[in-house]
């Protein structure tokens, strides 16, 4: 039997697969997909052996720089990218947690200056596996359980 696609194929563009279903909208926010005019389809709460429940996004005519796409590693560390040209997968990529996180995450410390003034948050990733972020300003650690995307 032919496998039916839950989200229809695209001609050219990027497919982001294996996003935890609960973090789909965070991925959309981080990549600013809510502000672009490219044709885009997504599916959520799809069955996944790895994640239990996953989401997928397909964006036409959009190709990401590594630096940009790695930002989603915070909320979708297992995400896989397929680069599509002429309905063919021409490249596969995995995301990698970057060394520095700028302007995406919120500092967990309620007494941190970034929660009081207009300051772009900056973090150093001190543990890439557990995604522990050290605030450049207050020097406190924000762990994955307390991670809030701005």
């Amino acid at each position: 039997m032919k496998k039916e696609l839950k989200v229809s194929a695209i001609n050219n563009g990027t497919v982001i697969d294996h996003i935890p279903a609960t973090n789909l909208y965070k991925v959309i926010t981080i990549l600013n997909l809510d502000k672009i005019s490219n044709a885009m389809t997504y599916g959520s709460n799809l069955e996944s052996k790895k994640l239990g429940s996953k989401a997928i996004i397909k964006i036409s005519d959009k190709f990401f720089e590594d630096e940009e796409i790695n930002k989603i590693a915070l909320v979708a560390p297992q995400a896989k990218l397929n680069i599509i040209k002429n309905y063919q997968v021409v490249e596969k990529k995995v995301v990698e947690v970057p060394d520095k996180i700028i302007g995406i995450a919120k500092c967990v410390n309620p007494k941190c200056i970034t929660n009081f003034e207009e300051v772009t948050t900056k973090f150093t990733v001190i543990n890439k596996e557990t995604v522990d972020l050290k605030c450049h300003y207050c020097e406190k650690i924000t762990d994955q359980n307390h991670l809030v995307i701005k």
């Binding site: 500092c107 410390n109 007494k111 941190c112 200056i113 970034t114 009081f116 003034e117 207009e118 300051v119 605030c135 450049h136 300003y137 207050c138 020097e139 406190k140 650690i141």
Partner: protein, 302 residues
């Protein structure tokens, strides 16, 4: 160090720390010189402070510099809703260097990024207080004649006390042995113990004062704050467990000195004050020399 802000003790290398201590020694010999003539230092204290503010201002005046600023935020435009961003940008037009204490953590790093002149952090909430650490190091070096291979006892609130954390980090450059004495709820946080493990530095934890203090070269006392305990009875019990009394110092080493960042509440009994091993008031005086050293190094005058 020239033109560089001092926000966190880790901003300085070991060599830079030693250079500050050397300069502080020079200023102790000759505290009054007109090094800062024609310079203006802004002293912005958004939160009250006795020792830190007065010793900074005394340091500037002994060097012949001028001071502008405020000693609590109610006498600044902060009360009109001015942001820290705007205050710092304005003040950096008026001064050659800004000394700032602010209750919000990370405010000093932020200020150093937007200010046109160097910023010296005089305490940003519970985060960093590097000039205190430098004066602590100066006090240790002065009383022990060295910084290397000392047995340092940290006593009291080791969980929340920012001074003990910065001191631990800085002393770790000098091959110390640490002994921690604290209530189990106020123990040294795991991240600092991991830091010591990584560096291969030995440390021992105790829940009360024992004969072990006979090994101490430095005993660094801190205040246990009532607000750290949800149960007031527990606080009352704890507060009295960690009181250092004169008779406890009988079998301690000749060279032992007792340090405290002050203010103290009751953790050092007044009977200790006259013991030659008590050093906390001299330590506060060392703050002036150390801050003279920091300011003149940053302004490139030394």
């Amino acid at each position: 160090m020239k033109n560089r802000s001092l926000v966190s003790i880790s901003d300085y290398s070991k060599q830079e720390i030693l250079r500050i201590l050397e300069l502080a020694e020079e200023f102790e010999k000759q505290p009054h010189i007109d090094l800062l003539k024609g310079k203006v230092i802004a002293s912005l204290f958004f939160e009250p402070s006795t020792r830190t503010r007065l010793s900074f201002e005394s340091a500037v005046q002994k060097l012949g510099g001028g001071i502008v600023g405020f000693s609590d935020s109610s006498s600044s435009s902060t009360t009109k809703g001015e942001s820290l961003n705007d205050t710092i940008k304005t003040v950096s037009n008026y001064a050659d260097l800004i000394v700032m204490r602010h209750p919000i953590e990370g405010s000093a790093r932020f200020a150093s990024e937007i200010s046109g002149v160097p910023v010296v952090n005089a305490g940003d909430g519970a985060n960093q207080h590097p000039t205190q650490t430098l004066l602590d190091l100066y006090s240790i070096k002065k009383t022990q004649g060295k910084l290397e291979d000392l047995n340092i006892f940290l006593v009291g609130d080791l969980k929340y006390g920012r001074t003990v954390h910065s001191l631990l980090e800085a002393m770790s450059m000098f091959n110390p042995t640490f002994n921690f004495i604290s209530h189990e709820k106020l123990q040294m946080p795991k991240e600092y113990k991991l830091f010591l493990d990584k560096k291969g530095i030995k440390y021992y934890e105790h829940e009360q004062f024992t004969d072990i203090i006979s090994r101490a070269d430095i005993m660094y006392m801190t205040r246990v704050q009532r607000e750290r305990f949800s149960d007031p009875i527990e606080y009352e019990k704890t507060k009295n467990t960690y009181v250092l009394r004169n008779e406890m110092l009988k079998n301690t080493k000749e060279n032992l000195k007792i340090l405290h960042p002050l203010p103290r509440v009751n953790e050092i009994h007044q009977s200790v004050d006259n013991n030659p091993k008590a050093y906390y008031f001299e330590q506060a005086l060392n703050g002036v020399y150390t801050r003279q050293a920091i300011i003149s190094a940053i302004l490139g005058l030394k």
